[in-house]
Structure formats: structure tokens, C-alpha cells
């Protein structure tokens, strides 16, 4: 399979791969290694703003690239229940083939789970990690 230059760059570098530790860290994940795609995000949220983000992905190059881009571009923005770009926009940005669009939904689910964890904690329903 051929990949766009942008996909290749984010896949190869994966600069925000990893986990966060410390205060105000929230985590969410989606997918399954057994099914071939699993994504996890860690975000640090302070005053409603995402201060840092990391990801882990057991996934194809497109999924890794989109996860890496999401972690990079979410920083500085509000902790809200939406990806920095829609799944459709991301699929076009990274030239994701149509049969693989379901994998981007796993990225979105992982992100939503992360934001829900943050929202719940901020609302005082749960603690941070």
C-alpha cells in the first residue's frame, strides 16, 4: 500500500507517542489489539485547556499518523468532545482509503473516551489518573 507524504511523516516520526504522568492527566482508549486496532490518548487538562497530549496505537500506518496528528494539534485547544478535525476531514488530509475509515472511528472513540474522562473528573465525579 502506498501512503501520502503526510501519513508517512507522522507514521515515521510518531513524536507524541507515549503516556503522560502527573496531575490533571486523563486517559481514554478504544479498539482492541486482538481485533488489530487499538488507540489510547492521554491528555493533561488545566483550566479547560489541553496542555499536553500523548497517544499509543497498535494499528496501521494511517491510524498511527492520525493519532499522532491529533495528539499534536489538540494541544492548546479546549478540552471538548470532538477531534481537532472531523473524521471526514482527517481521512482526506491523510488520504485514508475508504475501507479503512472505520479505523479512524476508533481514533475518534478513543478521543471521546479521553474527553469524557476529563469532563467527568472536572465535574467532580471521578478523580484523575
Amino acid at each position: 500500500m502506498n501512503y501520502s507524504a503526510l501519513t508517512r511523516r507522522y507514521f515515521d516520526a510518531a513524536v507524541n507517542a507515549g503516556v503522560l504522568t502527573g496531575a490533571d492527566i486523563f486517559r481514554g482508549a478504544a479498539g482492541s489489539r486482538a481485533q488489530g486496532t487499538w488507540v489510547q490518548f492521554d491528555v493533561q487538562v488545566n483550566s479547560g485547556i489541553i496542555r499536553a497530549a500523548r497517544f499509543l496505537a497498535f494499528a496501521c500506518p494511517h491510524t498511527i499518523a492520525v493519532s499522532a496528528w491529533t495528539a499534536e494539534n489538540a494541544v492548546g485547544g479546549p478540552a471538548r468532545a470532538a477531534l481537532p478535525e472531523s473524521v471526514q476531514a482527517l481521512s482526506e488530509r491523510f488520504a485514508v482509503p475508504a475501507p479503512k475509515l472505520g479505523r479512524l472511528l476508533i481514533v475518534e472513540d478513543a478521543w471521546l473516551a479521553t474527553m469524557q474522562a476529563a469532563a467527568a473528573a472536572i465535574a467532580g465525579q471521578h478523580g484523575t489518573l
Binding site: F11, A14, V19, G36, A57, P61
Partner: protein
């Protein structure tokens, strides 16, 4: 221009320059360009001499008689001719076929087509090393079994089947023919058609530094009959109609002659390189070797990487290495290898498996590059995946 290290010789090999030179002689106006079927002039006679020389070269390389060589367009056509040809010719004797789950798709797909036409097919499952016990063949034979088709060297994991033992079993059944797909065998391990005692054997040129587009089916003179699949000229003892491509078969003949002349030390050299590759990969941890190592050709190594997603692994190494996830004929489908699944590997491990095909041009530096590239890729992907 930077080119990735080529470690996919099981898919195909570059044409040996001596083969290319021989082929070129058959194409130009001052060479043997004539139609080998033309008997009314010297041009046809000259081409016919080339074709028969090539036939003798191929036969000599695999212990067959020249008259047993039937030219085809490649191994796929040879497999089709063997399977459909036997099935149709012997259909009044029976409609049962025995083969293995780990055969090439060029054998499995014709068998499935025959199933659709009313034949019964028994698919043998190998042990975890990829080996079919000859006793399994014996146990699968029925009164109406007309064909057993088992490959000699597996194209994905390189294991060698005990064909001689299977031939001895089939010989006890007068209406059962044994076909062997030996497309991966020549140049990798010894092949002796006569001594093995098989009825039909498939050969390919492009796995042996010959050209693509040509192969052969060996048809034993010991009373084996086939129905032809194509008509229109009566060439190749009426088994394969169509003008014989002089330059192609000349290339195959030269390639087989060169393979037969390889010193034993070449096999030892490649075996040493494969061991170097395996030791380097094993040191990464979480790497599993596929196939019975004690019964495999030295040119092939198939390994599974734990905690690594398959497509990402291939993408990570692609700029530096030319390897495959399995048979070149099925990897385009991006389905997990059915060969590895037949060996009991999980779907995830099948997806994260790579086949390394070493060849005559492979050197220590190539192996060390492969180990370094894979070391980086596996480490990177395990880190990204949180393993």
C-alpha cells in the same frame, strides 16, 4: 538511486545476465527468431534446435527425460494442466482429489473449481512445522482417488515434503496420479523427477533467475495421460497448443543449466546467511520462526513478530527492505497467510509475519541491513503500541 535490499527471491529473481543474453539471441533477425513449428525452412529448424536444447537442459537439471518436458506459460498453467488434465482424463475412474491446505493458490483454486464441478477434494492439514506426514496421504486415499497434488518446497515457509514416500504410497493405487508443484525447488534443493517416482511435476523459470512467462510440466512416460486444456496447433504432444516461445524456453533452459551447475558451497553460503538473519532477528525478542527448520530450504526464512501490527511493520521496513508478508500471489489481497493459519498461528501473528527470500546476490551486508532495519522498526512500533 537508493534501492531497498531485495530479500524476496521466493517471489521472483532477477534474470541472470547469461540467461538474458541467450534469450536475446533468439529475438533478433540474425538469431534463432523463427517459428519452431516451421519445418519448411532453416529459420524454423534453427529455432526448433534451440527449443529442443532447452528441453534437454531442463530435463537434465531435474532428472527427467527431454520427452517428458511440456512447455507452459509458467507454474500456474502447469498446475492447471496437471490438475484439470488428470481430473478430466480419469474422470471415469473417480472424482476424488487429495491435496494440502498449504498448497499454492495455483493448486488450491483449480481444486476448488473442480469441487464446484462435482469432484470431491480432501485437504490435508500439516503439523505445526508445515509437514504433511505421508501416512496422512495414505489415509486420505480412496478407491476413486485419481490425483494427489502436494508441493515439494512450500513457497511461504520453505519446508520440504517427503515426496518419495508419498510417491511410493500412490504407486500402490493404480488409478492415482501424484502431481508435485516444484516451482520453488530447483536451485534450492535436489530434484530428481525419475528417482522421486512422481507422475507430474510443475516447474517455473522465474524463481531460478530465468524469465517470467515460461514454465514446464513434467509428464512421466510411465503411462500418465492428460486431457489438454487448449487446442489449436498440436504443439507439445497435443498437450499445450500454441507456438512455443523460443526465447522464453531458451532462457529457462539456460537458467536451469546454471542452477544445476551451482556448487554445493552456494547452498552452504546461503544457509549461513539465513542463520545470521535468524540470530539477528531472534535477538529482538518476541520473534517466532515458522516452519520446520530441520526440513527447509536455506533460501527461505519466515518469522512472526509479536506485539507489532502487520501493515505497519511492512510499511516501516518498505523504504529499506523488499520483503513480503507471504505468497506474492496472495499478499495483494492483504489477507492473513492461509499457510501460517494452517500451521496454527493466530490471525494477529499471521498478519505480522514476514517472508525473507535469500538469493545468489544476497550478501552479509544485506543481512545486517535487514536486521538493523527490522530492529528499529519493531522497537519503534512496540513503543508506539505501548508493548
Amino acid at each position: 538511486m537508493h534501492r531497498p535490499v531485495y530479500l524476496d527471491h521466493a517471489a521472483t529473481t532477477p534474470v541472470d545476465p547469461r540467461v538474458a543474453a541467450r534469450m536475446a539471441q533468439c529475438l533478433a533477425a540474425d538469431g534463432e527468431f523463427g517459428n519452431p513449428g516451421s519445418s519448411s525452412h532453416d529459420y524454423g529448424d534453427a529455432a526448433r534446435v534451440v527449443v529442443e536444447e532447452a528441453r534437454a537442459q531442463v530435463a537434465a537439471a531435474v532428472g527427467a527425460m527431454a520427452c517428458e518436458v511440456v512447455w507452459t506459460s509458467g507454474a500456474t498453467e502447469a498446475n492447471n494442466l496437471a490438475i484439470f488434465g488428470v481430473a478430466h482424463y480419469y474422470r471415469d475412474y473417480g472424482r476424488h482429489i487429495v491435496t494440502a491446505r498449504t498448497e499454492h493458490s495455483a493448486v488450491l483454486d483449480p481444486c476448488r473449481e473442480l469441487e464446484r464441478r462435482g469432484w470431491r477434494v480432501t485437504y490435508l492439514t500439516p503439523d505445526r512445522g508445515g509437514i504433511i506426514d505421508p501416512a496422512q496421504v495414505a489415509g486420505a486415499l480412496q478407491a476413486d482417488t485419481v490425483l494427489v497434488s502436494i508441493m515439494h518446497v512450500n513457497n511461504e515457509i520453505g519446508v520440504i515434503q517427503d515426496i518419495a514416500a508419498m510417491a511410493a504410497i500412490c504407486a500402490r493405487h493404480p488409478h492415482t496420479r501424484l502431481h508435485v508443484d516444484a516451482a520453488q525447488s530447483v536451485g534450492k534443493c535436489g530434484v530428481d523427477f525419475s528417482r522421486l517416482g512422481v507422475d507430474l511435476m510443475t516447474l517455473s523459470a522465474h524463481k531460478v533467475y530465468g524469465p517470467k512467462g515460461v514454465g514446464a510440466l513434467l509428464v512421466s512416460r510411465r503411462g500418465v495421460q492428460l486431457s489438454a486444456l487448449q487446442f489449436g496447433g498440436g504443439q507439445e504432444r497435443t498437450l499445450r497448443a500454441g507456438t512455443v516461445a523460443t526465447h522464453q524456453v531458451a532462457g529457462m533452459g539456460t537458467a536451469f543449466a546454471l542452477a544445476a551447475a551451482l556448487p554445493q558451497s552456494e547452498g552452504e553460503r546461503v544457509a549461513s546467511l539465513r542463520e545470521r538473519l535468524w540470530q539477528g532477528l531472534a535477538a529482538l525478542g518476541g520473534v517466532l520462526r515458522n516452519g520446520d527448520v530441520d526440513r527447509s530450504v536455506p533460501q527461505l526464512l519466515n518469522v512472526s513478530f509479536e506485539d507489532v501490527e502487520g501493515e505497519s511493520l511492512l510499511a516501516a521496513v518498505r523504504p529499506h527492505l523488499a520483503v513480503s508478508t507471504g505468497s506474492a500471489c496472495t499478499s495483494a489481497s492483504q489477507e492473513p497467510s492461509y499457510v501460517l493459519r494452517a500451521l496454527g498461528r493466530s490471525e494477529r501473528l499471521c498478519e505480522s509475519s514476514l517472508r525473507f527470500g535469500l538469493g545468489r546476490g544476497t550478501c552479509e551486508r544485506d543481512i545486517d541491513t535487514a536486521v538493523a532495519v527490522l530492529g528499529h522498526a519493531v522497537s519503534h512500533l512496540r513503543r508506539v503500541g505501548g508493548a
